[in-house]
Symmetry: C2
Subunit: 326 residues, 2 copies
């Protein structure tokens, strides 16, 4: 585990424990099976990054109510719902090192449990009694489903542009991070300036997070990553490291890369060849550089807040986004 992760975890230990309890207490299913399947995805070693961002964002706005942990579950339930549906859509096999839900139960039940989690998130959002909050949560869901559909539509397309890629990761990842942080400001009754600052922080963090996530698919082995290496590409999902490399490569390298990508059933050996081409063509460096820029923007957005322990943690989380290796 990286140093920075250690440091953050030590600082938010109590928060994480309370978030864990809230996630168990607010699921509230009528059927045991729902609790089992939802639990499989919810309690499988997720980082709890989204609920943590909500709790810290509320705190930096001076929130001192009793409901930050409860409302933080909105964003983890939403996240879990989309993971259940996305794993199905992507026909994934592993998630966090465990078999995906639809391989243990079945597609049908997994779809419906995803729906339940989605509805739970919105039910809890309605308990804020803040129409703006509820609208944001519903809009996150609209965006996420459309981001996934857009990705699906362009599956296997070698001509996917960086612009399209950015549009997809904005919708499927960044709006959730953005909404999480923004909703906290609203719940805390913070002034507009702070709401905008946290919204910007979350958005930029989300973009960087997804870029690094996409990069990890080209750097780690299955054991550390908890899912198949090269999984994105095997699903026909082109991400920034590849998109950039294909554009920057000379004719020979591009032809080699295209051959590997088109034949999705590549061996580990061939995949390693692709990784070295991505390094050679600058796709890795470019993605790292861009992610670092977004992290810088995220950190800059927090300038409106006075220095505090909470601000330090939010800054550290931004840095961690780049340093993380799982």
């Amino acid at each position: 585990m990286s140093d920075i992760k250690h440091k953050i975890l030590a600082l938010v230990k109590d928060d994480l424990e309370e978030i864990e309890t809230a996630l168990e207490e607010n699921l509230n299913p009528y059927l045991d099976l729902v609790s089992k399947i939802a639990g499989h995805i919810l309690f499988s070693g997720g980082k709890r990054l989204r609920p943590l961002l909500m709790v810290l964002s509320a705190r930096i706005c001076g929130y001192d109510g009793d409901y930050d942990k409860k409302f933080s579950t909105i964003f983890e339930y939403l996240h879990a719902a989309t993971l259940l549906h996305d794993d199905l859509v992507d026909q994934a096999t592993l998630r966090r090192g465990k078999p995906v839900a639809h391989s243990i139960w079945d597609n049908a039940t997994t779809v419906l449990v995803g729906d339940f989690l989605l509805a739970r998130a919105l039910s809890i959002a309605s308990e804020t009694e803040l129409p703006n909050v509820i609208r944001i949560v519903a809009e996150i869901t609209e965006n996420m489903s459309q981001g996934e559909i857009q990705q699906l539509m362009r599956k296997g397309s070698l001509d996917l542009t960086e612009k399209e890629y950015m549009e997809v990761i904005k919708r499927k990842t960044a709006v959730l991070f953005q909404g999480t942080c923004r909703v906290s400001a609203l719940i805390a009754g913070a002034p507009k300036e702070k709401e905008v600052a946290l919204s910007d922080y979350g958005f930029n963090l989300g973009i960087a997070f997804q870029m690094v996530d996409d990069l990890l698919d080209y750097t780690l082995d299955t054991g550390v990553l908890g899912k198949e290496v090269g999984a994105d590409l095997k699903e026909g999902k082109l991400t920034l490291p590849v998109i950039y490399s294909l554009k920057a490569a000379d004719a020979k390298d591009r032809a080699q890369m295209e051959t590997i990508i088109k034949n999705r059933d590549f061996s580990v050996h061939v995949f390693k060849k692709l990784i070295s081409l991505i390094k050679k063509c600058g796709g890795q460096k470019y993605t790292e550089k861009l992610a670092a820029e977004y992290v810088r923007n995220a950190k800059d957005a927090l300038a409106v807040f006075n220095n505090s322990k909470t601000k330090d943690i939010l800054l550290m989380i931004a840095d961690y986004t780049l340093a993380r290796n799982a």
Copy 2:
């Protein structure tokens, strides 16, 4: 078409046209494909019963705002979302005489478009700025997903009880009708008494509607029904006509029915034999009688309202529930 349907349609013609427009205007997708798939299920000759109930319920409470049609889309979008997911779950082939969405596009996109419609419904609900309304809409979704899961868990079980059946149809159908009518009262700012009355009306109507729906599976031919006859049973879904008949039958008839039900790949000829057994054992009569009781309860619930054209239509809709043949 039955006389009563004719009569209702003449009375609500303008409302239905405005609902149709609202359904088109409020879908608001970012991607054309979403509009196409959502449109396939949304504009395929649905009865618009749910949005119509919302508009009429609001009117009987004296609502004179401009948003009844817009808010009525909440319930049709929600309904369409669950149809997309349920057809997938049930591996259905036909819906309203047309191939189901997941057979034209694919499972993955269909799941995601369902998510989008669900989110759209909640987004529009948030525009009411009434936390209670939003909570009810979210709870409807929680109930519907769990009702479907419960049905799925008990698929093929010959020992399904009437009590379990009632629990399933309550969750998967009646809470939506109930919520539709109740939300209207809230939007109209009606007194508690009227909110409760409309809630009761909707709940009882929903139960009756589903019972008749389940009965239609044993009476109509594919052309009229728009889906495969005997589809419920082929999916292993036992409904009230069968549940009652299995319980009421003598040993010989029960054995015959069980044989037919267990072999899901029955011919039309064998299915007709089952229908005659259901008639003989009283399953059809019993279901009709019970549905009629719920319709009576629905109509009784409206007693708190003065006589009006709108009340007449709501009473007619209750009667239509029993008379309908598709």
